[in-house]
């Protein structure tokens, strides 16, 4: 992360929410495009060393983005983001969930609500993402899932690798 750009990551255990606030050195329209066009989402959404691929995208209320985050070894983690409300270029809300390759959302796992707000800060843009789970129990289930899926272990391996590359 660039040192001069704000990054806040807040965990509210009582309300089962995560709030991620981040400043970007670009105009709001460009940042909005990066969030809402699949060809641009493909270029940043997955954390390194994973990559993003889009199966389908319909950015409208009631539409969804069906995507995968892909490990270097080919392991795919499918997700589906269902758009609920859209107010260009200020805000959108969506329902995130784990899905399979055909786009069927896993009914056994809780989904989280994303409320994403874009605001101007001089020539920069601040994006605030509030990720909410229905209950502490719902969040617990997702934590379990994360432990089993092994996505986080990929990130740990990256942490180990980086000092070796430096």
């Amino acid at each position: 992360m660039k040192a001069d750009l704000q990054f806040d990551f807040l965990v509210d255990k009582e309300n089962s929410t995560l709030t991620v606030k981040r400043e970007f050195a670009a105009k709001r329209q460009l940042v909005w495009d990066c969030y809402t066009k699949s060809e641009l989402l493909n270029r940043w959404f997955a954390p390194k060393p994973l990559t993003t691929k889009t199966k389908s995208m319909e950015f409208r209320p009631g539409g969804h983005w069906h995507y995968a985050m892909v490990e270097p070894n080919g392991q795919e983690y499918w997700g589906r983001l269902d758009y609920q409300t859209i107010a260009p270029i200020d805000n959108y809300t969506a329902l995130d969930g784990f899905s399979d390759e055909t786009g069927v959302v896993n009914p056994d796992l809780p989904r989280s609500t994303w409320n994403v707000t874009f605001t101007d800060r001089a020539t920069h843009t601040v994006v605030t993402t509030v990720v909410s789970y229905a209950s502490p129990e719902a969040l617990q289930q997702v934590i379990d899932m994360g432990m089993k899926e092994g996505l986080t272990s990929t990130l740990e391996r990256l942490d180990e690798l980086l000092p070796q590359l430096a």
Binding site: M1, K13, E14, S16, F24, C34, P47, L139, G146, L155
Partner: protein, 114 residues
């Protein structure tokens, strides 16, 4: 692995309550007796003991009775497992947004060229 996940469930439930979180915060500074721990709260002792029992059941806190005094101690490893998930989420967002910084630089370059 299954046992580990179950215990993490309990841990997270325990941490979802503000009273229990503040007891954990207090115990991070060192062990304390039940009486000392209960003092700041406007709760009857039976209600307070219920919170301690939840913390004890998930292994976040261990209690030892010496004579008539029951002392509570924090199990730091257990706490770390629950916090780890949040730290992992933070790493995912950090990495994702580093990618976006780079993409924005590239796109702005393309705009200037065209």
């Amino acid at each position: 692995m299954a046992n580990y996940s179950t215990s993490l469930d309990d841990t997270f439930h325990a941490l979802a309550d503000p009273t229990r979180r503040s007891v954990i915060a207090r115990l991070a500074n060192g062990s304390a007796s039940i009486k000392e721990l209960a003092q700041p709260y406007d709760l009857g002792l039976p209600s307070f003991l219920k919170h301690i029992k939840v913390l004890e059941a998930c292994g976040l806190v261990a209690t030892i009775k010496v004579g008539r005094v029951r002392t509570c101690q924090l199990n730091r490893e257990k706490l770390a497992a629950a916090e780890k998930w949040f730290e992992d989420q933070r790493k995912i967002w950090e990495s994702r947004y580093d990618n976006l910084d780079n993409l924005l630089v590239t796109l702005k370059g393309e705009q200037h060229e065209s």
